[in-house]
Assembly symmetry: C2
Homo-oligomer: 468 residues x 2
């Protein structure tokens, strides 16, 4: 009651304002801490972000030298600003992004400048009355057509910015020509300042700690395969309740596969950017970037299966916490998971190091054999034990993993095939299989590596083209 009364009382302007401002000021320290934490996290997650921010600052400062030195400024006059604008709008995080935008901007400006000049000339034939009508018509038609072309998926992916700049420059040149007779000079200086801006941008972007979209895509796809491997690394133990024995290692990481499910747009944009990039590191000019999309799509298909397998874990936790089904089923299942984890991890490592993943297929083949064993166990089983066991549903629940695991293996075989395809198209060179690969992995059920390499060769020979 007291509070209500005081809030209803007429009060002075100062207390009224204070009542509004006070909560903001009391919240300020917490907000500042949150902001600082977030900034630190963003910078720590990827230090290239800080470098990029400094690079943009550097490029703009460099291009603004045109203003500070009079002889440079006098050459272009007020058009100098276009060089600065170009740096601001063209500088992207990755080299591919910057080159793509830069080329789009230069080519579109060139083409639209020429067309705008032509439109200005044609319109001037129409006399004082016809000129604005013809100009208006040209602008309308060109803007409408270019805007519609932006809806074409292929154009949108690579030339969207170019089409925007095309409309912009065309309007700029043709309309300015209506009031300004020095249109040729305008088009020329705009073109030249944009070129200068692009040169500065590309120089800083490529030569100061460059960020290559292609390398990012390459590592993204490899780490996505790794996330799938991590799931299998933990799944068997988690499902059969062996995790208490092994400790809590890997429990949190198992959910990493979820990021794979939503990686499509990121992969697609990186692919589009990577296609603008020149030869760099181990990547040639015409590196088969599109194969990464193929692998990415298969990764997502596999991650879908993992989502369902993860659902099995939830059901098991809530519905049957204490029951454990042992026997040949558990052994084979654990073997499948371990082999799939090893196989996927080697695929990821092969991709990352750009060597053919020779031993991966051997692991997957072993998982396949274990799955076939599981199948025949089930066939032989004839449910004699089941008749003794009242709760048959539980056994069905565990046994129902079998088709799901088989389906997942099929998916992983496809991933291995695609990585193999990438390796052969991109010409991954085989180096001696590093023995250091082994300790990083779950060695539980692995054969010695040298034997595996031999098996792998055979498997690849036999398996090529065989449908899963």
């Amino acid at each position: 009651m007291a509070t209500e009364k005081s809030s209803n009382e007429y009060e002075g302007l100062l207390p009224f304002c204070l009542r509004w401002v006070k909560p903001i000021f009391t919240k300020l320290p917490a907000m500042a801490v949150e902001l600082a934490t977030m900034t630190k996290k963003l910078a720590k997650d990827d230090t290239r972000r800080v470098v990029h921010a400094l690079k943009v600052g550097l490029a703009i400062t460099l291009v603004s030298l045109f203003y500070y030195f009079k002889p440079l400024y006098d050459g272009f006059g007020t058009s100098t600003i276009w060089a600065v604008v170009t740096v601001v709008v063209v500088f992207e995080f990755s080299v591919g992004g910057t080159l793509g935008r830069g080329l789009n901007r230069v080519m579109a400006t060139l083409l639209a400048g020429a067309l705008g000049f032509g439109a200005h000339y044609l319109a001037s034939l129409g006399g004082d009355t016809g000129r604005p009508i013809m100009l208006g018509l040209f602008v309308f038609v060109l803007a409408a057509i270019s805007t519609f072309i932006r809806f074409f998926p292929k154009m949108k992916a690579r030339y969207d910015y170019g089409l925007l700049i095309f409309i912009l420059t065309f309007c700029m040149v043709s309309l300015s020509g209506y009031r300004d007779d020095e249109i040729a000079k305008l088009a020329y200086s705009r073109m030249l300042t944009i070129l200068i801006g692009c040169c500065f941008t590309v120089f800083v972007c490529v030569f100061v700690c460059p960020v290559w979209a292609g390398t990012d895509l390459h590592h993204l796809v490899a780490s996505n395969i790794d996330s799938l491997a991590t799931f299998f690394h933990g799944f068997g133990a988690e499902y059969f309740g062996l995790l208490q024995e092994q400790g809590e290692v890997g429990k949190v990481d198992m959910q990493k596969y979820r990021t794979v499910l939503n990686s499509k747009s990121n992969e697609e944009s990186l692919t589009n950017l990577a296609r603008w990039e020149p030869r760099h590191g181990k990547f040639r000019y015409r590196h088969p970037w599109k194969v990464y999309l193929e692998i990415g799509s298969l990764n997502r298909e596999c991650a879908c299966r993992l989502e369902v397998l993860n659902g099995y874990l939830q059901t098991k936790r809530t519905q049957m916490p204490s029951q454990q089904i042992h026997g040949p089923f558990q052994e084979e299942c654990m073997k499948i998971c371990s082999e799939l984890s090893n196989g996927l991890r080697e695929l990821a490592m092969g991709l990352r190091k750009m060597v053919p993943p020779l031993t991966a297929k051997a692991h997957i083949e072993k998982a396949k054999i274990a799955a076939e064993n599981l199948k025949s166990h089930l066939e032989e089983w004839r449910f004699e034990e089941m008749n003794n066991n009242k709760n048959a549903l539980e056994i069905v629940h565990v046994a129902s993993l079998s088709p799901l695991l088989l389906d997942t293996i099929c998916c992983i075989v496809k991933i291995a095939d695609s990585v193999q395809k990438l390796a052969s198209i991109a010409g991954f060179k085989a180096v001696e299989v590093p023995s250091s690969v082994a300790p990083e992995q779950d060695q539980g059920s692995m054969q010695p590596c040298h034997g595996a390499v031999l098996v792998a060769h055979q498997v690849i020979m036999i398996d090529k083209g065989a449908p899963c």
Copy 2:
């Protein structure tokens, strides 16, 4: 041999060019036809694209009137071009996009203009030597900080364009001030022309066939739920090989759920755009757009399960084409699929028409009951039939659908809960359940609608908050 010889012969420039140009010309008609087909398809798929292109043309033509009428042009002079530039870069497909970009541009220009003016004043205190150094420092620091802020996820989603324009305008005003003393006039006319450009754009965008991102998001989510329904509509019949009896209806549509899997980025960008939009149609200003993201995420989880169920269809087709497992299993499975399909379809329709989906939960509850029946059938079964049947694996394969279907039902219950949440937050008004809903659906196992509404009410009462 003959071909090789002729290509090695020295030839004139004209035949050489012709040999290169000819294939292009022979391909031209095919390319033209392809282009025409694609254009037609793009325009037919969404006629709003054509309207949008015409709207952009119209807005630019309108704003270019400033050039044609001398009194208008004299007011701003060369700054007039900023109005045209603004229309070109601000006009987006949806009202939300346009308003977001427009507000970003105006606010950023205002803020950066003021700051640029301040920087210019401060730098001028430094004398002839200090001025360029201080200006360079300001530009560097502000550009670097703003570029880094663009990495903050929340800023990137809504204010990315604003931050770009902020850097651009700040550089423009502060640098131009170095060479041009009329900096206040520059900042003022840039601000005014940008405002004029934004007004033209928003006017045409909102008042000529507006495209609302919110409405698009609403329909996208509803049609995604519909896609899930379509899958269940066909799944039971397809799995038990009844499709030959029913005909090939719905076979192609079943794969529509795949588009749901990749809808995340589209839904997120539409949500961001929708938040800029004012009240329109049945949508209030603070419509709970974020709940759509929740439903969308659940849709994708469900689609993942469908991907696995679809995998079952493939296995069935390749591995056991002729075997059919009948009995209580098939009946309950068909009932589950049909009820889920009906339930999802009613959720979609409720969402689309903005009425509470009263009968949907009843259908899902029936599916749940059928799933429980299936479970108890399996428990009672005790595999007596199985002992007679040599191929136990097949029965396990079919029986293994049971946990998967249960898992999927859990997922769909969550979707229904989220739609219910949206309905209550957004205040969907209940209208009389349209009897026209029924004929569109598979009526195979539906209770009469009026009974179902009653059941639905009870179910909602009982089920609220019960974990699945």
